[in-house]
Symmetry: C2
DNA sequence: TCACTAACTGAAAACGTTTTTCAATTAGCA
DNA sequence: TGCTAATTGAAAAACGTTTTCAGTTAGTGA
């Protein structure tokens, strides 16, 4: 189930955050995207809808939404954070193409047993886990294969 | 099995990298640490052994070692990278205390089956995965519990 | 409806990490 | 030993993110 901008505005108010035009625009950008976006991408899209939005506000809004558990944060290896509105309550994980950055979400990781075992062995109280698979998507596999073939021919 | 500084120097030479005093010092720092260290920590320790080492060289050496798969990179949520010399060929994963930063390594994640399933379902060619558990270590659990008790008493 | 106030705003500066640039130095090899 | 491509550190640039601060405003309640 996908939340609307209005519904999210209500949630913000419920938690005593003011619903300013700027916040509404940032939320709107997130609601209408199916891809994980970096803060600066969100900033650019937000400016197209409403020129008076600052990058700072994007960061601050992301902080709030993240604190409320409404968005998922993606941690790619090249030190870029991306965000996507959550659709379900289930925690989900990512399969990321290291070539083109394409992201596929999946939910069932089956790590419950491992989590329990580690908790017992180490005494840790485990709160969450981060799981990402990295590799090449279909498309990039073909491209890479082609390039390697060409390089071989050239040599 | 743990590699020595000399053995690592050989590996570098095998891959056509020159073994300079600076690189040797950086490698030495890594070899003699049991904890994941950030580039700037490595830099400080390296300077104690050999004042003429620059932070840039630390970054460059880490890049090389990483490319050769000799060190493991730790990606904490607060955007700090840390590095540790690898001891085995097995990929290993991390259990991180979100309070004090303590890291425990573990090896068996049992994600092979999931990896195979995802690969089939999505057509991805999966190269690696990143798995981190986050939570509170024994010590920090006690501290947090105490603090919460005190706060309750104060109110 | 209006006035009040705490919350919010953007610009600019500060921040910490990482990368690039470049002239000087040096490891490895013949 | 002398050559050369690789490597070096200082400095500057680049980058994503946070802080600061004076001005603005959403929401509240009279
Ligand atoms: Zn996601
Ligand atoms: Zn791809
Ligand atoms: Zn490790
Ligand atoms: Zn701890």
């Amino acid at each position: 189930m996908r939340l609307t901008t209005d519904k999210l505005a209500d949630i913000l108010r419920e938690h005593n955050y003011k619903v300013t035009p700027q916040r509404r625009v940032v939320v709107d950008v997130l609601v209408h995207s199916n891809e994980h976006m970096t803060p600066s991408t969100i900033y650019e899209k937000a400016r197209q809808k409403h020129p008076r939005v600052g990058l700072v506000t994007v960061y601050r809004t992301l902080d709030i939404l993240s604190g409320l558990g409404l968005i998922c944060e993606l941690h790619t290896l090249d030190n870029n954070h991306s965000y996507l509105m959550r659709e379900t309550d289930k925690p989900h994980h990512h399969l990321i193409c290291s070539e083109c950055g394409k992201v596929i979400d999946f939910t069932d990781c089956g790590l419950g047993a491992l989590e329990k075992r580690l908790s017992l062995e180490t005494g840790f109280e485990i709160e969450e886990h981060l799981l990402e698979f990295h590799g090449l998507c279909c498309h990039c596999q073909t491209i890479t294969a082609k390039r390697e073939k060409n390089e071989k021919t050239a040599t």
